[in-house]
């Protein structure tokens, strides 16, 4: 079997999927997921991913783990994790909790190596169970917003007001026409950002009231089954950010 034509055939595809020296480390992929794509390094990284099958798959698997689809209660989420694990343990990816530390590279290699078949011994299985218990606790306790690398105290001062998001939220039967939120005390304007799940911005707008119409060209990009995120931030008269709705999500129901 080793040197048959069949194996040579599949090697072509394996080579197309293999990592190259230009491929992005997990920290870069995580920052693509969690930080805005508005700087040159971010855009360069995004351009690499767009043309690289290896990085594209890594990012896709990370995204699935970082922005999981189910939201109908923790029980469903736990069932969902178990179902996914049974499908392909080796395909799991996750971002380090804090981006940019040296130990993350080592942690990733260790995490991945553990799930290669040669490690599938009973000890490794027991070990994996302990690890998964830890990740399950982290998963269940994980707040909706990933932790930011900046000082939490500073973040809290800046974002003391939380804006109540009114919609669109969750699964929708129809394309939403507007984004709505509740007025925040002291706010003189609001900035609205609509994003893909990987946080690529789809639309940015400013509003003075508590509602904004979604333009038709943007609405046409809301398609069934595709989850979108939005966030409203409030600004004071001096222009400083005084509050945020946090990330909200919605998806247009598949008409199946």
């Amino acid at each position: 079997m080793e040197n048959s034509i069949d194996d040579r055939e599949i090697q072509v595809i394996r080579a197309a999927v293999a990592a190259t020296p230009a491929c992005l480390p997990i920290e870069k992929l995580c920052s693509l997921l969690h930080e805005p794509r508005d700087s040159d390094p971010q855009l360069l990284a995004a351009a690499h991913v767009a043309a690289c099958v290896h990085c594209s798959i890594e990012l896709s698997l990370l995204r699935e783990f970082e922005f999981p689809q189910p939201q109908a209660g923790e029980e469903a989420a736990v069932d969902w994790i178990a179902a996914r694990l049974s499908r392909d343990v080796s395909a799991r990816r996750s971002c380090p909790q804090i981006i940019g530390r040296d130990r993350d590279a080592g942690r990733r290699a260790w995490w991945r190596a553990m799930f290669t078949p040669r490690f599938a011994s009973s000890t490794a299985v027991a070990f994996a169970t302990v690890l998964l218990l830890i990740s399950a606790i982290l998963y269940v306790r994980r707040p909706m917003e990933p932790r930011l690398a900046s000082s939490p105290a500073a973040a809290e001062v800046q974002r003391s007001t939380s804006i109540v998001a009114l919609g669109p939220l969750g699964e929708l039967a129809q394309r939403p026409a507007t984004i709505q939120w509740r007025d925040a005390a002291g706010a003189s304007s609001y900035r609205i950002l609509l994003m893909e799940v990987d946080r690529t911005a789809l639309w940015r707008a400013d509003a003075s009231g508590s509602e904004i119409a979604i333009p038709e060209r943007v609405r046409s990009r809301i398609v069934p089954g595709k989850t979108l995120l939005w966030e409203v931030t409030a600004r004071s008269a001096s222009g400083s950010e005084i509050g945020s709705s946090g990330l909200q999500r919605f998806v247009l129901k598949l008409n199946k």
Binding site: V12, A51, C52, V53, E74, A136, N255, K256
Partner: protein, 384 residues
């Protein structure tokens, strides 16, 4: 909360032990299980062979290669081939010779193999008009077919074959437009054979405001709601019980034929991702018999005005050419055919820009091995 966690850990432990047992059990490499449903269609009709994933095998796949050959007594040719995934990310190239097909594909989002509702691949075969009723033939894949999982390990594909029987009265040969997002009121043409006034049409993911029989070979469906048609399942049934199931996709009509026989025999298999600006390259130095190609397809209602520019490694524009593609048209050919016969040098990049979003696919042909490998193109600029 605690009980949930205990349940979770228990489930994970069971899953891992079960997996461990499988791996430790013997030399058998775990494969990807595929099932082919039986089909019955009349001579002169079309059969869409469906390669369905077994739900127990679902896992993210990064790509694969496959081969299939179909019996000439039952089939007179291949009318179409398509790969499916939940996100439409899968792209590939199929080389078709008679009733033989070889396909290479990639799934850059790793969503191929993760959805039990879609076939992994479909192949539309023209049923030999001379086939006799009751004549049977096996529908399967060559044992050399393999997938690559998300960790870049090769998995054998184990196929449970289906049986084709010449018979029945109805078949679907094509759906136009078979792909893309369309508003309410759009007329979708269902082409095939044996349609009658009493033929019923059902599509679980679609709703129709009108179903009109145009002829025994066409039924027009008017969408009651806007819909994305890629991968939609459509079932027709005649009162005699004959029925056919079809998964729709945009089957591009070749607007030109490549002068390179290998590319003339190549079906570009586009992902549903569209671009108004994309780049193929920088191109590598190639071995003897190898050449780069390009596939373009317009899924948009308006004609695409496309400009190709060859750019040096320093960013200078070396050559450019333009072409128009009507809705549903596609081209596939050697890069040199797009640039007046001159072969782009290694290090150059081909930039594609289009007036409307189109599907774009790079190809790497090997004329001595008669193979074509798909190449993912990079998006240029931000789309918003």
């Amino acid at each position: 909360m605690v009980s949930k966690l205990v349940g979770f850990v228990f489930a994970v432990t069971l899953v891992l032990w079960a997996d461990h047992g499988k791996k430790g059990g013997g030399a058998d490499q775990p494969g990807f299980e595929v099932k082919v449903p039986n089909e019955t269609q009349p001579p002169g009709g079309t059969v869409q062979v469906k390669f369905m994933p077994d739900p127990t095998s679902l896992a993210p796949m990064a790509g694969g290669t496959g081969r299939a050959a179909f019996d000439l007594a039952s089939f007179s040719g291949i009318d179409g081939i398509e790969l499916f995934s939940g996100t439409g990310d899968v792209l590939g190239a199929a080389v078709i010779q008679g009733t033989q097909v070889q396909v290479r594909f990639l799934s850059p989002l790793g969503t191929f193999g993760t959805d039990a509702n879609y076939p992994l691949m479909t192949i539309a075969l023209h049923v030999n008009p001379k086939a006799s009723l009751g004549q049977q033939s096996i529908l399967t894949l060559d044992p050399s077919t393999q997938f690559i999982n998300a960790s870049n390990q090769a998995l054998p594909v184990n196929v449970k074959p289906g049986t084709f029987t010449a018979g029945g009265t109805v078949s679907i040969s094509n759906v136009i437009p078979g792909g893309g997002a369309w508003p309410a009121g759009t007329v979708v043409r269902l082409l095939g054979t044996g349609f009658q006034a009493a033929t019923s049409v059902t599509a679980p993911g679609l709703s129709f405001s009108a179903v009109t029989l145009q002829s025994p070979s066409e039924i027009d469906l008017t969408l009651a709601q806007g819909a994305t048609l890629d991968g939609e399942q459509i079932v027709v049934r005649n009162p005699d019980g004959s029925e056919d199931t079809y998964f729709s996709y945009l089957r591009g009509v070749p607007a030109a034929k490549s002068a390179v026989p290998l590319f003339a025999a190549t079906w570009p298999l586009f992902s549903t991702l569209t671009h108004t600006a994309a780049a193929l390259g920088p191109l590598q130095a190639l071995g003897p018999g190898q050449l780069y190609g390009l596939g373009l397809q317009n899924p948009h209602a308006h004609t695409a005005q496309i400009v190709l520019t060859l750019v040096s490694s320093g960013g200078a524009s070396i050559a450019s050419s333009g072409l128009n593609l009507a809705f549903g048209a596609r081209v596939a050919g050697a890069l040199s055919e797009f640039f007046n016969g001159s072969v782009p040098a290694p290090g150059t990049t081909v930039r594609v820009s289009s007036s409307v979003p189109i599907q774009i696919l790079g190809l790497l042909g090997d004329t001595s091995a008669t193979t074509v490998t798909p190449i993912i193109v990079g998006q240029v600029g931000n789309s918003w």
